[in-house]
Amino acid sequence: MSNDTQKTKEAAPSGGTAERDSGRSRMAQSQQEYYISLVVRLSIIGVAIIFALFPVLFVVSSAFNPEGTLSTQSFVPSGIDSVDDLTTNFQALMVDELEQFPFWNWIANSAFVAGISTILIVMISALAAYSFSRFRFTGRRSLLLFILLVQAFPNLLAMVALFLIMNDISRLADVIPQALPFLDFIDWGFIELLGLNSLGGLILVYLGGAMGVNTWLMKGFFDSIPKDIDESAVVDGATHWQTFWILIFPLVRPILVVVGILAFVGTFNEFVLARVLLRDKEQWTLMLGLFQFINADFNRDWGKFAAGALVSAVPVVAIYLALQDQIVGGLTVGAVKG
């Protein structure tokens, strides 16, 4: 901008008033062009927003539409005579048909799986990142690269193997008493809580992908914390564990939050591995349950699906919109999950 004014200043002395006038009209013209371009921009944005939000509005409309089937949906809900009509689908979903669709179980399962996975993922990667950031040891560099490379293989690919392995774990409850009869006094049934068709098993599988990108993200942040802090603590007689837990942990909270949000949203939304590993509907997560609503009969339970989708998407969308800058930062650094 300052360049432009300088140029006009240079041009002005040599030319007369005529040139100055034409310059002004040029400015008016560009002003006009600018407004036209703004209008074009805004209309493009408008079209894009319609594209983006049309499905969302459709779900909201379906959720409140008392006509619960897909065939009776219109963009504007019809047949609403009273406030009760608005909640027909929610009533069916959350109160009336729990026997068939244990909706609250699914919410509890999803919250449990995502919550526990998040806490453990953050802890596991923070511990590793601290070590990588603070200690120098042989094999450190290869270990870092190994962790990153191993994660390049999505565990989705190994789902057949994971299914078979989890099946083997479930079998252990019967095998251990046979293999070691003197241990029969312990009830080994608890191992099934970590095997196939269990939330524990699903969490284990999610934890397999815990390190990798998260450790890298955290290590970068840990490196930015001055080492003098650790050293002075050690001089004062603190162990490494105390240094980590009391001094460093509070300082790296921002990166822990980013990793935590990404882990929570990721595990909350995960579908494929959950579907392979969880069989009974009481064990399903929310995403599996929602899928099941319309897997059997796409038309019949559409309204209930929409109500459930609305209830489960709202918190996730809220988290995203509130923390979009942090999430985008994390995603771009991590370079995963497009």
């Binding site: 499905p55 190994a158 390190m211 162990t239 899928f291 988290i319």
Partner: protein
């Protein structure tokens, strides 16, 4: 000498001191916990070994070694911090990869699910009704745990003998002074009515009642036979199984994984067992024309899908980022939030909603198009081309916000004086875009595009939820559809097919996908030069 050492404290010395300061109680508890955990790991390792599961046995032994080495060898102490993560990686990332490779060289699948020892055990449990067996009439019962019981009666010389037989491990009980009519309740068991009995007949006829030598089984709708004899006997030395009922000898075939009748090769004992089949699964991939046909189609579509996905989302994302880039746009923050909502919505929900809107008969979009001047009911899911269009469209909706976000970040990082210089040199806006914006953008965004390609290459979620691979490819010997990508095709082979699970073949395809993903990853690293970066970083 002692004076100097007490004055000059090294940090290391201090550390040892502080460790020594910890109370013996705390150390004792730590040690006890470690012992319990070690015992647990060794129990797991041994039990897997006992169960013929050498792979997992080794895995848990390795984890045991890892934990104890890092605790007791001072030079490995930094690794102690990452033991939980490393143990999980060994168990749930590395081992599954190794296991996939191992399975791909076997015939693991329906009909060959068990190890040889397990299969022999199962076959030896079978019983048959010998000629001299006695028969009873029966009534079916079931308790709350779902176990079956049978009320048995038969005529003997001095009246009627009554007995009650339970499923699973308790002896058949002779009732001396029982009621003549079967009671409706007996010892926690409830009598099944006619309908319940018909429903349970299949399960009942497969159940062995009683225990040990004295067992009974339903032979037909009216009769139960008792006692039964063991039918099959395994001969360890000859590696054969003899059928005592028919006097047939079955010989183990280590290549097919079956015990096969010597005189009639089609007569096999089921279940079979797992055996190594070498490269058979891979050869089938290449040689079997029925498999090769769909596989080539599926591979081509997988690549096309991944490329189109990246191109469309990137094009729209970049376009929107450039449109939004003008500071004159009002309420930019709010508009941006609205535009990224598709990305924030859980993918499962977004895809299913689209599937509802595009439904061929009832979908709101299909109906709107059919009712408009276009007047054409688009066969979104029954026509191969339209199904592919639907997939790309929905993926565009899901994916463009991510591209928009990373592009707007990258755009603002391009220094503005480059554009000014270009304007001075008289570059048109088109030239500026193709010569300046795009090349500079690709430097930063390029690796993310490769990552996105790799992700979409395995975007199982999209395919499975939107089309399930449909419409099906006619005449394919294995279930395959026109919109199947490699990973969804593999999943169908492993779990979903009517022909039964074929884990071996599915693993073989998985390995090929592994190789492709590895190649893409290598490409990504060359792109980003991550190797050099890590070199500086570390």
């Amino acid at each position: 000498m002692s004076a100097t050492s007490s004055q000059v404290k090294s940090p290391a010395g201090d550390l040892t001191a502080s460790i020594n300061q910890t109370s013996p109680l705390v150390n004792g508890i730590k040690l006890a916990l470690l012992m319990v955990f070690n015992a647990f790991l060794l129990i797991l390792s041994y039990s897997f070994f006992y169960d013929d599961n050498i792979g997992l046995s080794i895995v848990f032994f390795l984890i045991f070694v890892l934990i104890n080495a890092t605790i007791f060898l001072p030079s490995l102490s930094p690794i102690r911090w990452m033991v939980p993560g490393l143990a999980l990686i060994i168990f749930l990332v590395l081992y599954p990869i190794v296991y996939t490779v191992l399975v791909s060289f076997t015939n693991y699948g329906d009909g060959h699910l068990l190890s040889k020892a397990q299969s022999i055990d199962l076959i030896q449990e079978r019983r048959y009704v010998p000629d001299d067996a006695i028969t009873y009439n029966w009534e079916a019962y079931q308790n709350e745990a779902g176990e079956y019981g049978l009320w048995l009666t038969r005529e003997v010389d001095d009246g009627i003998e009554t007995a009650f037989a339970r499923e699973g491990g308790s002896a058949i009980e002779i009732l001396d002074d029982a009621a003549e009519e079967p009671p409706s309740e007996f010892d926690g068991f409830t009598q099944l009515d006619r309908a319940g009995r018909t429903q349970a007949l299949q399960a009942l006829s497969e159940t062995i009642f009683g225990e040990g030598e004295d067992t009974a089984q339903i032979v037909n709708r009216r009769e139960v036979a008792r006692p039964l004899n063991q039918r099959f006997v395994y001969d360890d030395n000859a590696d054969t199984i003899t059928d005592l009922a028919t006097e047939t000898t079955y010989v183990a075939d280590g290549e097919l994984g079956f015990f096969i009748d010597q005189n009639d090769a089609n007569n096999q004992l089921s279940p079979g067992y797992r055996v190594g089949v070498g490269f058979d699964n891979f050869e089938r991939l290449i040689n079997d024309p029925g498999l090769r046909g769909p596989l080539v189609d599926i591979f081509v579509w997988t690549v096309v899908f991944a490329m189109l996905s990246v191109l469309t989302t990137f094009a729209m994302g970049l376009f929107m980022a450039m449109v939004m880039n003008d500071p004159g746009v009002p309420a930019r923050k709010i508009l941006r939030s609205l535009l990224i909502i598709p990305y924030a919505i859980p993918g499962v929900i977004g895809i299913l909603v689209w599937r509802g809107m595009l439904n061929e008969n009832l979908g709101i979009i299909t109906n709107a198009i059919a009712d408009s001047f276009i007047n054409y009911r688009i066969p979104w899911f029954t026509d191969a081309i339209w199904a592919k269009v639907a997939i790309i469209l929905v993926n565009l909706w899901l994916g463009y916000p991510y591209m928009m976000l990373i592009c707007s970040g990258a755009l603002s990082a391009i220094p503005s004086d480059i554009y000014e210089a270009a304007a001075v040199d008289g570059a048109t806006p088109t030239q500026r875009f193709w010569r300046i914006t795009l090349p500079l953008l690709l430097v930063t965004v390029g690796p993310l595009l490769v990552a996105s390609f790799a992700y979409n290459f395995n975007n199982y979620l999209m395919i499975e939820l939107l089309t399930r691979g449909d419409p099906p490819i006619a005449g394919s010997p294995v279930p395959a559809g026109y919109t199947d990508i490699l990973i969804s095709y593999t999943y169908g082979l492993a779990f979903g097919s009517d022909r039964g699970a074929d884990y071996g073949y599915a693993s073989a395809i998985t390995i090929i996908i592994f190789a492709l993903v590895a190649a893409i990853t290598m490409l990504q690293y060359r792109f980003t030069k991550t190797w050099e970066e890590t070199g500086e970083n570390v």
